[in-house]
Amino acid sequence: MNKILEVRNLSKIYGPGCPQCLESTGPEADTNLCPHCGSVVAIHDVSFDLFEGEILGVMGESGSGKSTVVKNLYFDQAPSGGEAIFYDRDKQHDLFALNAAQQRWLRNHRFGMVYQNPHLGLNFNISAGGNIAERLLMSDLMDYGAIRERAKALLARTEVLLSRVDDLPRNFSGGMQQRVQIAKALATQPPLLFLDEVTTGLDLSVQARILDLILEIQQELKTAMVVVTHDLGVIRLLTGRAIVMKYGRVIEAGLTDQILEDPQHAYTQRLVASAL
């Protein structure tokens, strides 16, 4: 099994930063706000590996920095420190050393991202099919017929009724909007997919349907995924390995079933015990 992503010492600090930031924040300090300079240490020293075709969970509560990790890897933000290597068939990319055009190329051709808020991942001014067409166009597909067929196929795959292909997403339910987002993210068959709290806030039945879909897709396409969530059920169902974050640091990492049944860290134990 080959490695697809290697993240080392990823950090993101909002604000000026000061020499005491790191020691004044984190799980022991019970905060990610530096009392000396007011900076927020959103994440610090985050490291993990991801292998082809596997699903890694990033678990934590609000303020843990889990979303910040994927935002930086997807280039929505630039990190304050650390590095990430993306292994792309026979090439390696040092993600944060690339220029904007190269990063955009990776976003359009090799990565996919599904946000918790569909407004971040979809363009609400164009139809569902148009959203997918946009992504295909960004990946340099220029044949209208092929684009249309692929858009329809993807929406069918994510169980969006074909009759809604040309409708605007604002007329869709939350679950359907998420499914359009997933279809859009998968349009380019990316080897690496980021999922940021994609089922949070959705009805349970809708959630189940989307989780099903994600797993099926992973089995078919062998997409490697980073799944960010605070929901233990989602972690258990989707992921084989997971990392647990608190106040920006990784406090525990391991096999998902081990973390859930034999948590080592006090915080993880509390988290697991709190699950309904």
């Binding site: 349907r209 099903d212 797993l215 390995r241 081990q258």
Partner: protein, 240 residues
């Protein structure tokens, strides 16, 4: 005499509950081996840590002490306690199976697909995998009308049969069984015993905990008696 597939030496497990400031012992100084084509049964009273041993081998528990030496398909020996998460995931996919007491699966997946899943993970085609799943479910007397339905609404016994089918289907080299016949009626229990004997003769190694002593005596080639771990104070003396 072939080399054992699994050799457990001095396995110990305790849980450290930080919030409650408690140390809970689970297993202590367990030693045994398992060979191909043989079934090793763990017996002992409740609290003896039988499930803990199985989970320790599968790495659902992080062992606190000891070595768990596994000989893989290539003949290489590795200590599962020290293996990387990655190696463990690969072994679970290809070589080590675990039939637990609980069935965790996607809420809406059809039974046939639940059972077929381990074969799909090995790259078998969906059609072939489902075919094999159908054969196993028939062998376990699970009515065909249930195959396209999710196991979420099944009875305990029905779920257990799905669980077993999923555990058997990929024919792992080492299969861990935690009370596999506990919720089954006598007829189905017979079927399962037959299946297990068949798998044994095909060379599968098994480590099992059985609910009924008769099943143990029928299937076990080796019986390992486990005693409850020593009390906490003794354990603390040992750790110190």
């Amino acid at each position: 005499m072939t080399l054992p597939i699994l050799q457990v030496e001095g396995y110990g497990k305790h849980f450290q509950l930080h919030e409650q400031h408690k140390l809970i012992p689970s297993s202590h100084n367990v030693n045994f081996s398992v060979s191909a084509g043989c079934l090793t049964a763990l017996v002992g009273p409740t609290g003896a840590g039988k499930s803990s041993v199985l989970k320790g081998v599968y790495r659902t528990y992080l062992p606190s002490a000891g070595r768990i030496l596994y000989r893989d398909a290539m003949g290489h020996e590795l200590d599962l306690v020290l293996a990387s998460e990655h190696q463990i995931l690969e072994l679970r996919r290809r070589e080590i199976g675990f039939v637990t007491q609980f069935l965790h699966c996607l809420p809406r997946q059809a039974t046939l697909d639940v059972v077929a899943q381990p074969l799909l993970a090995l790259g078998v085609s969906r059609i072939d995998a489902r075919q094999r799943a159908a054969e196993l479910l028939s062998a376990m007397n699970l009515p065909e009308r249930l195959w396209s339905v999710s196991p979420a609404t099944f009875s305990g016994g029905e779920r257990q049969r799905v669980n077993l089918a999923r555990g058997f289907i990929a024919k792992p080299r080492l299969l861990l069984l935690d009370e596999p016949t506990a919720s089954l009626d006598p007829a189905t229990t017979e079927q399962v015993i037959g299946l297990i004997e068949g798998l044994k003769s095909e060379g599968m190694a098994m480590l099992a905990i059985f609910h009924h002593p008769e099943t143990t005596s029928r299937l076990a080639d080796q019986v390992v008696e486990l005693a409850p771990p020593p009390a906490v104070e003794e354990l603390l003396k040992e750790i110190a």
